[in-house]
Symmetry: C2
Subunit: 308 residues, 2 copies
């Protein structure tokens, strides 16, 4: 099978840092075009819009959409409707309804839609899932605390309504726990803290449960200076499991059980190639659904203004 | 086929006003028990909890859950898990995730789950859907404005986080437009107004679109005194369609096209009997998904405190 002709729409930091190296290293894909308002990739033809790209390069077979989520639906619809396979960066859209509609369209068109959750491909995630399935879990604590000034300097869109705020990193934690925990979770209580001058939360405290009343507590905070935390701690009958560094390291009862080099995006493109070959889609709305549920069910509290 | 033995959990105003008369008039159901913290139904055995009910009346075959949505999941899970068919009052739950989980459980148990949307059964809704499918729609305006002091006096739960606020009536409008409009909608912009002393919105202004960019504007407001409005106005190439009084009346170009007596709850129980007979479920999350999307994507604004 020859390489799939791929285009990227929305050339920004995540594309340069992650997508381009992963695509370059994957023989299943051949990057043939980009569309972006500002960014370009050296040596690859670039267009101003996805419509111009689809018209000018009709033999493109798949499209990775990496613009902010607020602008993703129209582009995804155009690509799917033109019969292209579509890779959606996370989160897959600004609303759940639009992603469901895209999912229906992909099925109707017989093309593959991939709602990607890169953190699910972190090195130690599968080992954590396997450990948790072998024991009884008493409680889970998710601590996702980072310094937004360091990780998202002057990214205005992330603070706009629909930009998700602290749930932009937090949804990575949600994509992991919805994958590794044995039963469906749902939120029972949440508090969201919005800076007075912003339309997206800077912190969130969320209580989940499941049918067995297993308590899951998640703390997301963007005001963390010093040590950054992307940890999931489970107290189990077989001891304490710590999945740390965003899924990169696993320790059980203080002993390192797994640590491997990070290769999330290479794994994502392997998965995309796999679903294209098998003629299926991979769209799990659960992480975004929990975010929407947190906004729906949570108390909304205003806190001090935030300035970059 | 003999009548299905039915129990009701959560005996409040909506049960007395709507469920009891509809059940009494429907030969497919036989009310055999109730569970409620306070309410009872004369001549029907009552229990304090659904667990006590299920234990004491093991031959109950179906359960209608009418308590506030925050308490619905646990009861629904217990009933489905015991092999009972379940009727959920609207909204079907406090979160989307829990309703999805219930839907999976109903399928696994081979019983029927009905996420009911009573406004879809308003008399003129089908006629409106039929008219809209015959023409091109240019725009839609939804005006759902009522006096909360009149309709929900001192209902504390409706103002709590998860209680939905003005979306409690607004979701009725959403259940209608998601049924009568020809294409999937998604929210592009929303503003939610929260009283400073409450955790649920008192008003919302929502802009939807669809793939054809058809504009849909919804205004929900609980501060309406005087004339109450539950209207959906569509400007179409065949003229103006007004679906008014919550779906009870339809007029086209000012001429009355349909008006029939209200019988939403009788129709809901006919539908419940139908899905039980056919061994299917009827769970459409779209209305609740739009509410969650509105909270997710919308600007949250604080307004004057509200006192009953």
């Amino acid at each position: 099978m020859s390489a799939t002709k791929l285009a990227i729409v929305g050339v920004g930091k995540i594309v340069r840092d992650q997508h381009l190296p992963a695509i370059a290293a994957n023989p299943d894909f051949d990057l043939v075009a980009t569309a972006s308002r500002h960014g370009t990739v050296e040596g690859v033809p670039s267009y101003g819009t996805i419509e111009a790209l689809l018209e000018s390069v009709p033999d493109v077979q798949a499209v990775s959409l990496c613009m902010p989520p607020q602008y993703r639906y129209t582009a995804a619809y155009a690509a799917l409707n033109a019969g292209k396979h579509v890779f959606l960066e996370k989160p897959p859209g600004a609303t759940l309804s639009e992603v469901q509609d895209l999912s229906r369209l992909a099925d109707a068109k017989g093309v593959s839609l991939f709602a990607s959750w890169h953190s699910r491909y972190a090195p130690a995630v599968e080992a954590a899932k396997s450990f948790l399935s072998s024991t009884k879990i008493n409680s889970v604590h998710v601590i996702w605390k980072e310094d937004v000034r360091h990780w998202h300097p002057n990214q205005e869109w992330i603070w706009q309504a629909g930009g998700l705020g602290v749930f932009d990193p937090g949804i990575n934690a949600l994509s992991i726990i919805t994958h590794i925990l044995p039963r469906a979770l749902f939120i029972t209580k949440a508090t969201l803290e919005f800076p007075e001058n912003r339309d997206a939360p800077i912190a969130a405290d969320i209580r989940f449960s499941d049918v067995t009343k297993m308590p899951v507590h998640a703390e997301f905070d963007w005001r963390q200076t010093g040590k950054q935390s992307w940890d999931i701690v489970a107290e189990t009958e077989a001891g304490q499991m710590v999945l740390s560094e965003g899924g990169a390291k696993l320790s059980i009862n203080g002993e390192q059980a797994m640590a491997a080099p990070e290769r999330e995006y290479p794994a994502l493109y392997e998965r995309f190639a796999e679903i294209i070959k098998s003629g299926t889609s991979d769209v799990d709305l659960a992480p975004l659904m929990h975010v929407a549920d947190a906004f729906l069910l949570g108390r909304h509290k205003f806190v001090d203004s935030f300035f970059d």
